[in-house]
Symmetry: C2
């Protein structure tokens, strides 16, 4: 089993951004990257990944050279390893994987991104890269540690936000059940729902995670989905029923939620970690959706990037004030990125909150 | 197996409404009624029903005595036979069943409903009844046969209308798949979708029904869900995918539809005939809903009665002009109402279009 470190974020503090000019000359740089070696059948193994070193070109006009500080691994990447058409492009065999990363500009031929600038990109799974400045977004590491922009202030947080408020239309005072509540998206969703005055029920797969849910995120009821029946837990936690289910798992927890949902209940279908490697049976009680007029709706966060300013307006000050927690689990070094990713897919995965791979500093 | 009659409607023609005053005196009347004898475990049998004769009271002020001409049997009634709370009230053991019926006023103590008036009510499963005039709706049998108000001009038609346009937001030119397309709701949905310029794919369980779908309803592609794989049929019928699925069955056809749906596709969850008696496994591919941002939404027609005028404005003239067909399958006599109902639940049921039990005239 993977060993983790709970740590102090990565790329935190503005002090390190003082290197402006340090690498102003154009430099050739080696970068190691992680490539898709083969497509998995069922559960992926380390043999699905390979490593390669490449020599980066000099940045051209309007481009920058960036050294990554930290990168994200996310469950949705499992789907991108499969063959066949999908609505997120598949990873290609022999090509580097992709994902969000925060890095520092170390050589620049674009005046808007001077050396030292911290930038968010989709160029994860590699130590460094050259890219057009227009593909990158500047992040403010004085407001929060850089890695928070992979987590609650980034795509992870936006996924929780969109699922709760845009898709499920969660309203103040309602009761919401969030599966995989101690994971990256789940822990953001638990907190946003609490901030909006909702009653929160969350599930997780280990005692450590339950403690985190109860003691740090202050959810109203937390249960281990591997101890006892989810349907019984929901009956106990919300005898009058739930209004919204934020679904990260599908499988038996979706089935339990369908029973617990009140008329006109909503399900934000965010993911299906229970079945990413091996398909799980569908809920046997989908007929509940007819009599109770339920709405089940899937979403992909990239359709909703325009909502990022609304999230940041609320979350940046809340994080600074200690009203939000961006809990992270760190793994160090690009070499261990495949392990960190595979761990996410394991039932009862060891990470609490966002899994971040630190690459430098 | 049940024997049917294809017939000429019931209560058709305005001539019969000339009996005004004929039964103006207050009369005591016997009525036979069908009661719930016991709750079914799995597939219901005839032993779940009992018959009783009751003496009706004289109508009080504001009440009328009505003799039913025809009554509806519908798959949703299976759910009302179960125990436990639901969002449509359950039938009660020892009490008469309920459902829509069209009847004629034969004694009246309400001036708005003179003797001879045809009225639609929820007092099906009985030959006659006394009820407050305010609970009844007058129907115009000069515009269409009375039984059409149980079918395409009634709750059946409204179910199709609401599912397609209000829930699934079907737009002109889109492709829609309708399971149980030759049934009461399905055959209305096929026709409304065609009238709105959509491409229609429909499934059914017998060759007679396929002929009806192809030759009378003019759907674009019809297939027998028991011959071959629904997923292959959908690939062939709509190689570019479908926009909407009108789901009357759940089960394997829902699973096939989830594969065929285009991004942002919609599923109107109307019923689950595949699993009314014995639960069927849920779709194993519900994860499709996430990547394709699908919306699956259940509905109950009684939430949408306010849309009836919009339906009638379009459907009454279309029916009169022969642009809509209200296909019916008739069973004669209250004694055979339980059989007619049970037949609806049988895979490959013999009825085409609306199953109507004729009670008089």
């Amino acid at each position: 089993m993977l060993k983790y470190r709970a740590g102090s974020g990565c790329g935190s503090g503005a002090a390190r951004s003082g290197g402006k000019g340090q690498y102003a000359g154009v430099v050739a740089t080696e970068s190691r990257e992680v490539r898709l070696a083969k497509r998995p059948q069922g559960e992926p193994g380390l043999d699905c990944f390979s490593f390669a070193s490449v020599t980066l070109p000099d940045p051209g006009q309007g481009e920058v050279l960036v050294r990554n500080l930290c990168m994200s691994v996310d469950p949705y990447m499992r789907g991108r390893m499969n063959e066949g058409k999908s609505y997120v492009p598949q990873f290609e065999i022999g090509k580097p994987l992709e994902g969000t990363a925060v890095g520092r500009v170390i050589a620049s031929r674009d005046e808007k991104l001077p050396v030292g600038t911290l930038v968010l990109s989709m160029y994860g799974w590699r130590d460094a890269y050259v890219a057009p400045a227009a593909h990158l977004r500047v992040v403010d590491a004085t407001a929060a540690p850089a890695s928070a922009y992979l987590g609650i202030l980034g795509v992870t947080g936006l996924t929780a936000w969109v699922g709760l408020f845009t898709i499920a239309k969660l309203k103040d005072g309602e009761t919401v059940f969030i599966s995989a509540g101690a994971g990256a998206v789940g822990s953001a969703a638990c907190q946003f729902a609490k901030m909006h005055g909702c009653r929160v029920i969350a599930s997780a797969g280990s005692e450590d995670k339950l403690l985190f849910l109860r003691n740090e995120l202050k959810v109203d009821y937390a249960f281990n989905y591997r101890n006892g029946d989810a349907r019984e837990h929901l009956s106990k936690a919300a005898p009058d029923g739930i209004h919204v289910y934020f679904d990260n798992t599908q499988g038996t927890q979706l089935e339990a939620a369908l029973y617990a949902l009140l008329p006109y209940g909503r399900v934000a279908m965010c993911g299906g970690i229970a079945g990413y490697n091996v398909p799980v049976p569908g809920p046997r009680n989908l007929i509940q959706a007819v009599g109770k007029r339920l709405r089940l709706e899937g979403f992909i966060v990239s359709d909703h990037f325009k909502e990022m300013p609304a999230l940041l307006a609320e979350a940046v000050p809340a994080l600074a004030a200690g009203k939000l927690i961006n809990r992270e689990t760190f793994v160090d070094g690009l070499d261990r990125a495949p392990e960190a990713f595979l761990e996410l897919l394991r039932p009862g995965a060891g990470n609490i909150g966002k899994m971040v791979v630190r690459l430098a500093e």
